[in-house]
């Protein structure tokens, strides 16, 4: 069937669109550079080895960033990840203390995260009427509750034998192992989201669940998978927390969910789904980490740092919104 009227349609990508997409990441890179320069100017101790040494605590969180990116692109949200971190670290610690070999304990830690994610996914896909915010709000309390019960009175457990897990703290030069893992994860997840059919399906679901379903995308299966995935990543985070604190307590991972969501949003992923990419989110996470380290080194009031991050979050979403409106006005 050839076009009857002989109309042709252009099929070369417009560069304008791409530039638009690029601008956010570009801006983030510039901010990243600026923050590093300022960090260097403000604090004499802001250098590679120090930043790298301070980073593991934040790097553990960044593992979850990728999963959260997927979840947000789907148009869902998961606010239970902080509790999953707590529960998986707790279970890992307790099983290791119970005499299991470290390898097995590590495996159990990851599996705990995976199972928590599966529970979230199960409820979210079985009861699609429920907003995932509510589902994960409930499981957030439950997962931490289980951790509290397992930790018992005292609410804290420490690894009896932390030789084995020490491998996770290994460093290559000044750069911690976690950093390499993060880079590998970043490459994999960015490619999966931007280049593969799976990524395309994620955006389809996030843009319109109904249309995606009609187009043969297995919406619920993918949602289930993503919740499981973020659970697993939270397990990894829990593992690194376990490695860096030699233990777990009831406050482990508290507030991580909001920090991770904030990083994603700062990187341009919309909570309404279907928009944004992980490149932006990843750079944004580095920006926030560097900012926190730099401000920490000049001994700024920690609460004031949170105020700054809150303000940055709002501004980062306000600016594109107003820019859009400004552009349309100009066009008019």
């Amino acid at each position: 069937m050839a076009g009857k009227s002989g109309r042709t349609i252009a099929a070369t990508p417009q560069t304008g669109l791409k530039q638009k997409l690029l601008s956010l990441e570009g801006a983030l890179v510039i901010i990243f550079i600026l923050i590093n320069v300022f960090g260097r100017v403000l604090s004499p101790n802001y250098n590679l080895s120090n930043v790298m040494r301070e980073s593991p605590r934040y790097l553990a969180e960044i593992f979850m960033l990728f999963g959260m990116g997927f979840i947000l692109v789907l148009g869902d949200i998961d606010i239970s990840v902080g509790s999953i971190v707590c529960l998986s670290a707790t279970i890992g610690c307790l099983t290791s203390n119970a005499g299991l070999p470290m390898g097995l304990a590590i495996l159990i830690t990851l599996l705990t995260g995976l199972c928590c994610g599966m529970i979230n996914g199960f409820i979210a896909t079985r009861f699609t009427e429920l907003p995932t915010m509510i589902v994960t709000l409930g499981t957030q309390i439950i997962f931490r509750g289980i951790a509290e019960v397992s930790l018992g009175s005292g609410g804290s457990a420490s690894l009896k034998d932390y030789e084995g897990i020490g491998i996770l703290r290994a460093k290559v030069g000044p750069i911690p192992l976690a950093f390499f893992l993060i880079i590998i994860c970043a490459v994999i997840f960015v490619i999966v989201l931007s280049r593969t059919t799976f990524g395309r399906h994620l955006y389809a679901i996030g843009s319109s669940k109904t249309a995606a379903q009609y187009a043969g995308v297995e919406v619920q299966k993918i949602r289930f998978f993503c919740f499981t995935l973020i659970g697993f990543l939270a397990g990894i985070c829990g593992l690194f927390i376990l490695a860096s604190t030699y233990g777990a307590n009831t406050t482990t991972g508290q507030g991580f969910e909001m920090e991770v969501i904030a990083m994603c949003v700062f990187g341009g992923i919309a909570t309404t789904g279907g928009k944004g990419n992980l490149v932006g989110a990843f750079i944004a996470s580095l920006v926030i980490v560097c900012l926190r380290i730099a401000l920490g080194q000049i001994n700024m009031n920690t609460q004031l740092i949170l105020v700054i991050i809150g303000a940055m979050l709002i501004i980062s979403v306000l600016v594109p919104s107003f820019r859009q409106r400004f552009l349309t006005l100009k066009k008019k």
Binding site: T15, K18, E25, G26, V29, I33, I35, N36, V37, R40, S43, P44, N45, Y46, N47, L48, S49, N50, V51, R53, E54, R57, Y58, L151, G152, S153, G154, G155, S156, A157, S158, R169, G173, P174, I175, I241, S244, T245, Y246, G247, A248, N249, T250, T251, T252, Q254, G255, V279, I283, L286, C290, R292, I293, G296, Q297, N299, T302, Q303, I305, L306
Partner: protein
């Protein structure tokens, strides 16, 4: 193709970002393994700035807590007097996790000593060891970490002494027999758990206390609302309850308010801030708390300050038997003792606040 070029450019830009930011010449040019000496160099640089007197850090449990604030006040006073530089850090929340970030930052700054009031005894072990590896003297005050990870613990009062004093207060207020309950902070609060264990051990070990019965340990999580719920539940579940003992500043204030508002006959004692509790301390039935205990947090901060200085100057190493002077404190000099698990110095017995002295102290802290 274009996209690839752009990605490469992005990577390069970011790499330059890191390098530009971390423009410390040694790290940028020398192999990464040389980073450690560079760090020491940075620390050395910092030292002359304080004219040889060093930089001393104190890490509290959380921001927005007057008790913690007064620890810092005392600490600062002593260090400033000695010509040292003080770094005060309040973590963003009352978690070990937040403290780790803060301590890491202090390591970067190359401070000379860090005094920590720990939110979790175990979670800080590795970061404390890291600090010590970097040549920083680590000590704790108020709330200890695992003894293996620090040089010295500045204890406000011996655990035994606190336990003894609390159980005696309970004994006194019950009149020698009857039920009492404990309202604690969170279930993982190190101090509270140690004191409660001590109370239990003492009462079990001595026939004198055989007639007073501990009915429940409730946890108010240091939240006013939950502490209120828990206090009310205690009153309701145990109608014969005579005394509540709350060894936590938030819990005792919340419990005091509940008891006083309800005009309950149940009496309260424990550990509390005079400024918070002034409203509730009194001998008559209109007040819920006849007396309570606490140590002077400013003095504790001072003690930690002196200990930090002594550690920095090499006067002490934190070993048992070490002695150091604390000019502005009454019981100076202090001697390091062994508490069974590690080494500590003890400020002194807890101070008793009763109607006679509360008005004087409520203005102080």
């Amino acid at each position: 193709m274009k996209k690839k070029v752009i990605s490469v450019l992005l990577c390069v830009a970011m790499a330059t970002g890191i390098l530009a930011g971390c423009a410390a010449v040694p790290t940028a040019t020398a192999p990464a393994a040389d980073a450690a000496p560079a760090e020491e160099a940075a620390a050395d640089e910092a030292a002359p700035a304080a004219e040889g007197a060093g930089t001393f850090a104190i890490v509290t449990k959380s921001a927005g807590n007057p008790f913690m604030d007064r620890l810092g006040t005392g600490f600062e006073e002593v260090i400033k007097a000695a010509g040292g530089e003080v770094v005060r850090k309040d973590p963003e929340s009352a978690t070990a996790d937040a403290q780790i970030a803060v301590i890491q930052s202090l390591i970067s700054q190359g401070v000379d000593t860090i005094a920590i009031s720990a939110n979790d005894a175990n979670a800080l072990i590795s970061v404390c060891n890291e600090a010590r590896d970097a040549g920083i003297k680590v000590l704790t005050l108020d709330s200890d970490v695992d003894p293996s990870a620090r040089a010295l613990f500045c204890n406000q009062a011996g655990v035994e002494a606190v336990g003894q004093q609390l159980i005696d207060a309970v004994y006194d207020l019950t009149g020698g027999e009857g039920q009492y309950a404990i309202l604690s902070a969170t279930s993982q609060a190190t101090n509270q758990n140690a004191w409660i264990d001590a109370m239990k051990a003492i009462s079990e070990g001595d026939d004198k206390y055989s007639k007073i019965e501990l009915v429940e340990v409730a946890y108010g999580d240091d939240e006013p609302q939950k502490s209120t719920d828990q206090t009310q539940a205690l009153l309701q579940n145990y109608p014969d309850l005579k005394v509540i003992c709350a060894p936590t500043t938030v819990g005792i204030a919340a419990a005091a308010k509940v008891l006083q508002d309800q005009k309950s006959s149940v009496k309260l004692t424990g550990l509390g801030l005079p400024s918070e509790m002034a409203e509730y301390i009194g001998d008559d039935d209109a007040h819920s708390c006849p007396y309570m205990f606490l140590w002077n947090p400013i003095d504790l901060g001072r003690l930690a300050g002196y200990a930090s200085l002594a550690l920095y100057n090499g006067e002490i190493t934190g070993a048992v038997g070490d002695t150091f002077e604390a000019a502005t404190l009454e019981s100076s000099p202090y001697t390091v003792v062994d508490n069974g698990a590690g080494t500590e110095v003890i400020l002194g017995p807890p101070f008793k606040f009763d109607p006679s002295n509360i008005d004087e102290w409520k203005e102080v802290y």
